[in-house]
């Protein structure tokens, strides 16, 4: 009984947050609705005995990623609201609804057949003695060690990419990114970047 209550409440919060992300006109409101969905998904993880993943979900998603979103919203100063009623690409919105409805119908149609096929507990049993986090950690450092190390390389690449992308415009304006600004011509957006490039390049770091 209590399982059903948890499922219904968390599921409703999950879907309400997802709807809020789609319909809210202000990006900050969308981010806050996203937090609600992420928390609800964490609750659903707990309900399915994935305790470690629930904690990671709250820390990484609701903690780090949404804060990153909010930080970028603040940094860019996108405080103007988007008018979501107008449609710039004609016919895009009905087509989007149609495609999404088709996908949902297909998934739910498949739901009428058997969900799960195959053998149980091929990697390691989720139930049984021992805590969830201990068993998960043992798997990560034995069977999935190579993938684990690969993700660390991926994280290093992401850090380097973030630093490269967040730098100011390059010193030489005939670089690839500088070219784009020249093609654009003396537009209102391209001008301050090109003008500010030599001065900013003199500043170390």
């Amino acid at each position: 009984m209590i399982d059903w209550v948890v499922f219904v409440v968390a599921g409703a919060a999950c879907l309400a947050g997802a709807l809020g992300v789609i319909v809210s006109r202000h990006p900050v409101h969308a981010a806050l609705n996203l937090v609600m969905t992420l928390f609800a998904v964490a609750v659903l993880f707990v309900a399915q005995e994935a305790h470690f993943l629930a904690a990671v979900q709250v820390i990484v998603y609701a903690g780090a990623i949404v804060v990153l979103f909010l930080f970028v919203i603040m940094l860019l100063g996108i405080d103007r609201q988007e008018d979501i009623r107008t449609e710039t690409l004609r016919g895009q919105r009905p087509l989007a609804f149609l495609v999404v409805a088709l996908v949902l119908a297909e998934i739910l149609l498949l739901a009428r057949t058997t969900w799960v096929t195959g053998a149980d507990s091929l990697v390691a049993a989720a139930s049984g003695p021992g805590s969830n986090i201990a068993k998960l950690g043992e798997l990560l450092f034995t069977r999935y060690l190579l993938a684990f190390e690969a993700t660390s390389v991926l994280l290093v690449i992401a850090v380097v990419a973030a630093i490269m992308l967040a730098r100011r415009a390059p010193e030489h304006p005939d670089d690839l990114t500088g070219d784009e600004g020249q093609v654009e011509g003396p537009g209102p957006s391209a001008e301050p970047v090109v003008a500010g490039a030599p001065g900013d390049a003199a500043v170390p770091g």
Binding site: V21, I22, V116, I157
Partner: protein, 101 residues
């Protein structure tokens, strides 16, 4: 009494389609990114549900890796958005049309 796994999978399917709908309908790049996160979360929920139904921890390990990749994707994606915004002064998908034929 436990909730059957099929209910969780149905919920994940609806969540995924909501994320896809938002990605197709919205034009603010940041909100589109949030919709990608919704879809990733729906798939994570599916993995955890299958891990429970099959009594197999492999599904939970996959979710762990998906979390790492999602974090990387957000960092690089937001970096690109900031770079575009600096150059163009806009964060709307319609305005970035340099490659339009």
């Amino acid at each position: 009494m436990r909730v059957p796994g099929a209910w969780y999978l149905g919920l994940a399917a609806v969540l995924f389609t909501l994320g896809a709908l938002g990605l197709l309908v919205r034009r603010n790049v940041l909100v589109m990114f949030m919709c990608v996160e919704l879809m990733l979360n729906a798939v994570n929920l599916t993995f955890v549900t299958y891990a429970r139904m099959l009594d197999d921890l492999g599904g939970q390990v996959v979710v762990f890796f998906v979390l790492v990749v999602a974090a990387v994707e957000v960092v690089v994606g937001l970096g690109i958005i900031v770079a575009i915004f600096r150059r163009r002064g806009t964060a709307t998908a319609d305005d970035v049309s340099l490659l339009r034929g």
